[in-house]
Symmetry: C2
Subunit: 351 residues, 2 copies
């Protein structure tokens, strides 16, 4: 086994995560949800939302800023809505519970809208809309992050990258999952480490000037995608998953990378729509599947091999990684080894 | 009175529209809704969604492809949702009825989701979310248009410009209202007429190559804003206001400029959220208003005079135009005069 360039399977990754979380007194169900979402992040090629996150989570569990055995409580409820208090628990588990609640409501009254506060980073937003899709529903999920994005015309980071995911029960499932910034902060960090320049559209420096220097961009703020439109969307998501659900807002959102100073103040908001209360699930699927075929078989631009629907590129990566295994970066793996030694988990027995 | 460069007030525009529509047997209530939304389009600076549209509407009323005295029917209903059949009526009236239905449901169960088919172009999407905002609610509205936008990597127009509007009860009201294309088709037509080039990001030619020639762009397709992200959003809106609600999809959406061949096949989808079932309306407003102040007083990029929240630029234009009057283009006004003569409406008595 090569401990320097680590390659593990999807199932192995989940086993490692569950084993480490259980040593931190996380109940098995909660550990399994967390492992599932992190491993799904890795197989889809979002390493920043995969195993890389586990050390931050383990540190926060030690510190008590993530609660190992949190109970998710319904604070307010109507037949179509719920506000959940995540009890500062693992964000993946809390968000999965929230999505289950939204799905149940949509099954009964056609739509379910659920807000969540007192929770933590939940990994890839796309995971939760897929839960709805598996039940034949349309899922919409948004969440806040620490403020990294500038308002249009502004300089200061006052908006989160605020993922928006939408999923549709189609063939293949159409899964949109996007951040409100042009590029992730991690890409600027990587460019800086590698001595590379960044495209001018990615970030502004601390004076608000577009910059190609990643270190200047990191001192300034990330730019919203699509100019003022992306800013408007980032703003809307900030309100939905922030002040609407009683979570933090703007600079008041803290701890989405790692809750250090105290509990994370991020929030989530999700909507599930049951197609059966509109045209019908059958009609929705049949007509949309035809439309997808039409898009995929339409004329391609020069040098384009395939026109894809939202979510298809990630599914291709997932299929490849499920077959070939997930490559874990050296630094990330040595962090895992460190925790395994400390917590008395024998990694070899899991791989 | 200068009949060549016509300038009219907001109230005059509404009177003219109501008078002409009533001559086409449109009931007063429906005429007033239509006039209100068209005039709101003009005062905000969206001439393409204002009086300019009236001749298309009048032609369709003559032809019978817009039904003058349509009845909006509820086809399916739950406490939280409704599917409406607009009876091929005036889109503005139908959408306003749909929004009223969604607001009523959100007042009762916290969220209301309403789909609409058999309807027509409804003007500016922002108008309807403002109806929710006036009732202290959050409004989300989307709608389909004739296919004008290419999928990412594609060449053919297979997606509508599909407006997405979101409104929040804040001070000032935050109103996002955007098309999924970088630029409106009308801007390419204007550039062509004026012999101007267009930015490379606006459109592709019929081979899928980015073009600066507006006539080539008009033969090709409009590009989605923000690259693949805008494509994914346009796709999602196409499904929500299309196959979900039993309306047309892709090339199957017809008649949003003017229903010529038959009834328009566009659809609408809207969601209203009552902040009181989440944190609370009071908390939502107070905290968001503070956040808006923080954004507006934050540091500005070079040459930026004011940082605005979504909807503020349009409100500034609206205030100016309410005070100074609305300039109506010569061609548009001569069309109105033509219809007025034909229908026996004395415009001078209304101005």
């Amino acid at each position: 086994m090569n401990w320097v360039k680590m390659k593990i399977t999807f199932e192995q990754e989940k086993k490692v995560i569950v084993a480490l979380l259980e040593k931190m007194n996380v109940p098995n169900e909660q550990a399994r949800f967390t492992a599932e979402v992190l491993a799904e992040g890795d197989v889809r090629g979002f390493a920043s939302h995969g195993l890389l996150r586990l050390p931050y989570i383990l540190n926060a569990l030690k510190r008590g800023t993530i609660v190992a055995n949190a109970e998710v409580k319904i604070v307010k409820e109507t037949p179509a809505t719920a506000l959940l208090d995540g009890g500062h628990g693992l964000g993946h588990y809390v968000a999965a519970k929230a999505m289950q609640t939204a799905i149940e409501k949509a099954k009964k009254v056609g739509v379910g809208a659920v807000g969540v506060n007192n929770t933590n980073h939940f990994g890839i937003a796309g995971y939760y809309v897929e839960m709805a899709v598996r039940d034949g529903m349309i899922g919409i999920v948004t969440t806040t992050t620490d403020a990294l994005v500038h308002p249009w015309g502004g300089v200061e980071p006052l908006l989160g990258t605020n993922a928006l995911a939408m999923g549709f029960p189609t063939e293949p499932p159409a899964i949109l999952d996007m951040a409100m910034s042009v590029a992730a902060r991690g890409k600027l960090v990587d460019a800086m480490k590698n001595g590379q320049k960044i495209p001018e559209s990615w970030a502004v420096d601390s004076e608000g000037r577009p910059t190609t220097d990643p270190s200047e961009g990191l001192k300034g703020a990330l730019s919203p995608f699509g100019g003022p439109k992306g800013y408007a969307l980032a703003f809307a998501m900030e309100l939905l998953a922030g002040s609407l659900v009683g979570a933090g807002l703007g600079k008041g959102v803290d701890g989405t990378l790692e809750p250090v100073k105290g509990y994370s103040t991020k929030g989530d908001f999700m909507i599930v729509i049951n197609p059966d209360v509109f045209a019908s699930t059958k009609e929705f699927k049949e007509r949309t599947n035809e439309y997808i075929k039409e898009i995929k078989s339409s004329n391609k631009a020069p040098n384009v091999k395939e026109i894809m629907i939202p979510g298809e590129p990630e599914q291709k990566t997932r299929t490849k990684n499920l077959a070939e295994g997930i490559t874990i970066g050296d630094a990330a793996w040595s962090e895992i080894e460190k925790f395994a030694n400390e917590l008395g988990v024998e990694l070899k027995s899991l791989l």
